[in-house]
């Protein structure tokens, strides 16, 4: 074999050469050493060819050291967080009433120093009994409270508020005192809507923005927006269809973050008693800013942002399961039984008591919220490996 005039490129394509590099042996070593002896001018080309061969690799990306550490600490934080939650969940029912009182006192003292701005968080603190039962309440100011039926529609007009109750004919609320309240000055302009567990409601704000309010939520909004912005505050879960207005950004404030939009549809789950807050975007674009450290995140349609203990994660999701409640049903997609029960407990205003450890199990499907709770229990029992016993206002959960 003559390797005269071979360049390194020829060597790279030469089967014998490749064989040698691949499966070196003393025979082959000697053979190639001989070649170099005869043609010293080839030595550099051969070296080059070998080197090239040795340095071509399948790329195996390696996590940068900081990232590796970051993920590791995220794992252990997440584990600790979940352990805490499991623990809290099991004792939650017994101490619920007590905890809320302690919480509101704590918040009152810590929030005292930075008054000045409207303290929405304090305003959304409502006594637990208001959220636990009774009717939907619309509070226009200190002296003007109204009790509304479940699933009522509230619509703000420039001079009046129209409230209609589901199938009943639209009932216009035009009493003169009410009209006067709509045009009150700054402090009294804020309206508060309390939607207890087991109830839901709908508001069309003065700018035409539609807000669906889910069970166990408090919504605060002005009857007239300010000149340069539209601000509302929620403790709970809402779905919004925001009317586009470039000059007046729409801001939803929650205990954990601010969500700023120009015109869009999205769902916010931000219960103050729940460490996990999430925002799901159906259309448009929103910017989410954390209250704690002012970090900002942009969401695109079909993205979900989870905020838990200042840890933020973004997921691609199917939007429908997150917003279907506004149309009267839940869609679950590989949701854990615990999460499903939690949502049911909010919607039907029942307490969940875990009598036994239940196996981890996920369900997918659709749950009609117009059904009575016993039908819903039946459906869940038939799909998940759990038994549910209902006594009064409590669902006891056993493993099957």
């Amino acid at each position: 074999m003559s390797y005269l005039h071979y360049t390194y490129r020829d060597f790279i394509g030469d089967p014998d050469f490749i064989q040698w590099v691949l499966h070196p042996s003393s025979d082959k070593d000697n053979y190639w050493k001989q070649i170099i002896k005869e043609h010293p001018e080839l030595e550099s080309e051969i070296k080059k060819a070998r080197e090239i061969i040795m340095r071509i690799r399948i790329e195996k990306p390696i996590l940068p050291a900081e990232k590796r550490k970051e993920i590791e600490s995220r794992i252990f934080e997440n584990i600790a967080y979940k352990q805490k939650r499991q623990h809290i969940l099991s004792i939650f029912q017994k101490v619920a009433a007590c905890a809320v009182i302690v919480l509101s006192i704590a918040i009152y003292f810590t929030w005292q120093p930075n008054r000045g701005k409207i303290d929405y968080q304090l305003l959304t603190e409502v006594p637990d009994e208001l959220l636990n039962g009774g009717n939907v309440q619309l509070i226009l100011n200190d002296s003007n409270k109204m009790e509304l039926e479940n699933k009522s529609h509230i619509k703000y007009h420039s001079d009046k508020i129209i409230i209609s109750h589901g199938e009943k004919a639209e009932q216009e609320n035009e009493s003169s005192s009410l009209e006067a309240n709509v045009r009150e000055k700054q402090e009294n302009k804020l309206n508060k809507l309390i939607v207890p567990r087991g109830k839901s409601s709908f508001v069309e704000l003065i700018d035409g923005t539609k807000v669906w309010i889910n069970s166990g939520s408090v919504l605060i909004y002005p009857s007239e927006f300010e000149k340069d912005k539209r601000e509302i505050y929620v403790n709970g879960e809402i779905y919004l269809e925001v009317v586009h207005d470039e000059n007046k950004p729409f801001i939803v404030k929650t205990s954990g973050c601010d969500v700023k939009v120009l015109g869009t549809s999205f769902n916010i789950t931000a219960y103050q008693d729940d460490n996990l807050q999430s925002i799901v975007l159906a259309e448009g674009k929103v910017a989410v800013t954390l209250n704690e450290d002012s970090r900002s995140f942009h969401l695109m349609p079909n993205e979900k942002l989870d905020i838990a203990d200042n840890q933020v994660t973004k997921h691609l999701v199917e939007v429908a399961p997150y917003i279907s409640w506004k149309d009267g049903y839940f869609i679950f997609k590989q949701e854990t039984v615990q999460n499903i029960l939690k949502r049911i407990s909010r919607y039907y205003n029942v307490e969940i008591e875990y009598k036994e450890d239940i196996p981890s199990f996920t369900c997918s499907g659709k749950l009609n919220l117009n059904l009575q709770i016993d039908k819903v229990i039946e459906t869940i029992q038939s799909t998940a490996p759990i038994n549910i016993k209902q006594s009064g206002n409590t669902l006891s959960i056993y493993s099957k």
Partner: protein, 205 residues
């Protein structure tokens, strides 16, 4: 990677972890995170998604440690776990068209040419040629090559990861090699990409 410098066998490590030693999880993480990351990012998904799923995977291990005693090959188990997680993630987006069988995103073999004696342009040319050749392989072929040669999985493990028979896994690999061999000249060194991993003790000139 381990601080002590003593390499503890996977079986021991796993046993310690199952018995409740959290430090063992950290050792497992540090031993295999690069492998999981490299494998995960070989699919056409963003690296953030891979990172998130790695995080979820280790949390899952923590809460299901009692169920892990049946694992005989930790490395294989982890590869399989991250693959399933990505599969579920990728398919969750098309939830409402669920009649379609679940599919993984495409598997891509990326190559690097470290700094060599040859000119940059020529390096790029070489890279381009190899890329073209690899592009001729199916996604499954590439993944099978990767698992068998780079991660040194047995054919039966490759088969169960790819959800096919062992015979099919062998065919995937051998046909891919044939395809590469058919090429002339310089591109043949593509083969080396796979054999490097298994041929140890290659001596430099």
């Amino acid at each position: 990677m381990e601080e002590s410098g003593i390499y503890e066998a996977d079986e021991n490590l796993l046993q310690r972890f199952i018995e409740g030693d959290n430090n063992a999880l950290s050792v497992i993480y540090n031993r295999y995170v690069d492998m999981l990351y490299a494998y995960g990012t070989s699919f056409k998904v963003s690296k953030e998604i891979v990172e998130d799923n790695i995080q979820d995977l280790f949390c899952y291990l923590h809460f299901h440690r009692k169920q892990l005693s049946s694992i005989t090959n930790l490395k294989y188990y982890l590869l399989r776990a991250i693959r399933n997680k990505l599969l579920n993630y990728y398919n969750s987006k098309s939830f409402f068209h669920s009649s379609i069988e679940k599919e993984m995103p495409d598997f891509v073999l990326k190559i690097t040419v470290e700094d060599t004696l040859i000119e940059y342009e020529e390096q790029q040319l070489l890279k381009e040629k190899i890329k073209q050749l690899l592009a001729c392989l199916s996604s499954n072929q590439k993944e099978a090559l990767y698992l068998h040669y780079i991660e040194e999985m047995e054919y039966k493990e490759v088969a169960s990861l790819l959800n096919c028979t062992e015979e099919n896994a062998r065919k995937l690999v051998s046909r891919a090699i044939e395809k590469i061999k058919k090429n002339e000249g310089i591109v043949k060194i593509t083969l080396l990409l796979f054999f490097h991993a298994t041929e140890k003790g290659i001596t430099y000139l």
